[in-house]
Every structure is written in structure tokens, then in C-alpha cells.
């Protein structure tokens, strides 16, 4: 398959546009000098990923990504950022000084993974485009064949959130507790 035939499909134009946006904002997530900007660029990356899921006809997962990640996880991140540092301007010392070896390592990771995927799958076509997976199918899979993993994941979420509250709450010293009781 040549590049001309690939680019002649309209869906690949959409893919290219979204992919460029995702790559740019992903790069900004790891290079931004402002912590809040990094979190907001992650929003752009996730929105682009949701667009890719729509192209791949995975509607439910795309909207779950928007709701759970952009809606909840990013808000948690922004809370974490706001709490752990007061000024929201530029700040120094977000990165380590020596960046050469990490850059080389990540390029090596990319080359290895991209080479392996292209080598293994080549020009294999995607089959069911334009025919969205209905939520019914997904719901039957989640509550049928995957009901035990589904319950386990729900339990993990509950345990993690209870654990998070337990870790993050401020324990009072005995003196403070007496003060509380007196009031």
C-alpha cells in the first residue's frame, strides 16, 4: 500500500489531524514549564484519544474517557497541583538537569515498539469501521463473561478511594482531640 492510497481515504485525514494534535499536546505534557499547563495539555491529549476511539468505532469507551479522565481525573490532578504549590506561575526545578539519556532511551523505546508493530502488522486493514460498537454489547460483556473482573475492579476502586481518604486525612494529636471534644 502506498502513501497516496492511504491518504486518499477521508478517514485518514481525520486521523492525521487528530494524531498531530495528540502528539503535540503529549510532547507539551512532558516539556511544559508550568504544572497547570502540563495538566491542561493532558486534557487535549485525552480529548484527541477520545476522537481516535470514535474513529475506531468505540463510542462508549470514548465517552467514558471524556467523563472519567477529563471530567474527574484531571480535576483531581489540578487539586493536587494547587495544593502542593501556591504560586501558579513558572517555576524552576521541575525537571532534572541531565536530559540526554532519558531522551535517547525514550527514542529507543519508540523505535523498538514502532518497528515491532509495523513488522508484525504491516498494512493489515481495520475491519469494522463506521459501525459503532453498541453499548448493549459492551454491557453484556461486562456483566456476563467479565462479571467477576468487573466486580473486582469495582472493589479495587472502592478500596483505593477509602485508602486515599485514610492516607490524606489529617490525624489530630491527643491534645487537639481533647480541644475538639471540649468544643
Amino acid at each position: 500500500m502506498t502513501f497516496e492510497t492511504w491518504i486518499s481515504e477521508p478517514v485518514n485525514w481525520a486521523f492525521s489531524a487528530i494524531a498531530l494534535a495528540v502528539l503535540f499536546s503529549g510532547l507539551r505534557v512532558v516539556t511544559a514549564k508550568n504544572v497547570v499547563h502540563a495538566a491542561l495539555y493532558l486534557v487535549a491529549t485525552l480529548a484527541g484519544t477520545a476522537g481516535l476511539f470514535l474513529i475506531l468505532s468505540a463510542e462508549f469507551v470514548a465517552w467514558v474517557l471524556v467523563l472519567v479522565y477529563i471530567g474527574a481525573v484531571i480535576v483531581l490532578f489540578l487539586f493536587g497541583i494547587m495544593i502542593t504549590r501556591a504560586p501558579t506561575g513558572l517555576d524552576e526545578g521541575l525537571d532534572v538537569e541531565k536530559k540526554l539519556w532519558p531522551a535517547l532511551l525514550s527514542v529507543a523505546v519508540f523505535v523498538a515498539m514502532a518497528w515491532a508493530s509495523v513488522n508484525a502488522f504491516g498494512t493489515q486493514e481495520i475491519l469494522d469501521t463506521g459501525n459503532p460498537t453498541s453499548t448493549e454489547i459492551l454491557g453484556e460483556a461486562l456483566l456476563g463473561r467479565f462479571v467477576i473482573p468487573f466486580e473486582i475492579v469495582g472493589f479495587i476502586l472502592l478500596a483505593a478511594l477509602v485508602g486515599g481518604i485514610t492516607v490524606a486525612r489529617k490525624d489530630l494529636t491527643p491534645a487537639e482531640e481533647e480541644e475538639e471534644a471540649a468544643v
Binding site: 481516535l52 493536587g80 525514550s106 519508540f110 515498539m113 498494512t123 454489547i137 460483556a141 476502586l157 490524606a168
Partner: protein, 101 residues
Amino acid sequence: MVVSQFLVLAAALFAMGVYGLLIRRNIVLILLSVELMLNAVNINLVAFESMIVTTEALGQVFAIFVITVAAAEVGVGLAIVLMIFRNRQSANVDELDLMRY
């Protein structure tokens, strides 16, 4: 559309996550890089799912599990970050050297 285009994009996102994980000093930014890597995995799962058409949408089910576990991870991770910040007034990983030999 071929499968490889999604896989190469996911590989690029994963590599960016690895880079961010290695160069960042701030714990919150390290967690952001981990999210980037998990996101790359989700793209791979959904792309594979649309390549092998199954009746149960297996790849999407796994992507939903990954999203849920990632949400749990962020909850616990940020609670720990909060606790560390409260005790040490810093969110930089290289200053947390209490257990370093």
C-alpha cells in the same frame, strides 16, 4: 485505515510518557506522565479490538478496566503526594531520600 498507524501513534505517546517519567522531578508531573503511558495502552487495546472483530468487544472491555484502575491509581497517588507534601513541604522526588542507602 491500517492497524499500524494507531500502534505507531501509541508507541510515540508511550515513549513520551517514559521521557516525562525520567526527566520530571515533581511527583504530580510524574503521575501525569504515567497517565500518558496508560493512555497509549488504551489506544492499542481499542485498535486491536477493531482489527479482530469479536462479538463481545473484548478490547474495549479491557480499555474500560484500564481506565478504572488508572482512576484508582490517581486517587491513591495524589493522597500519598498530599501526605508527603504535608510532611516535607516538597513534591520533588529527589528530595525524598529518607530510605536511600
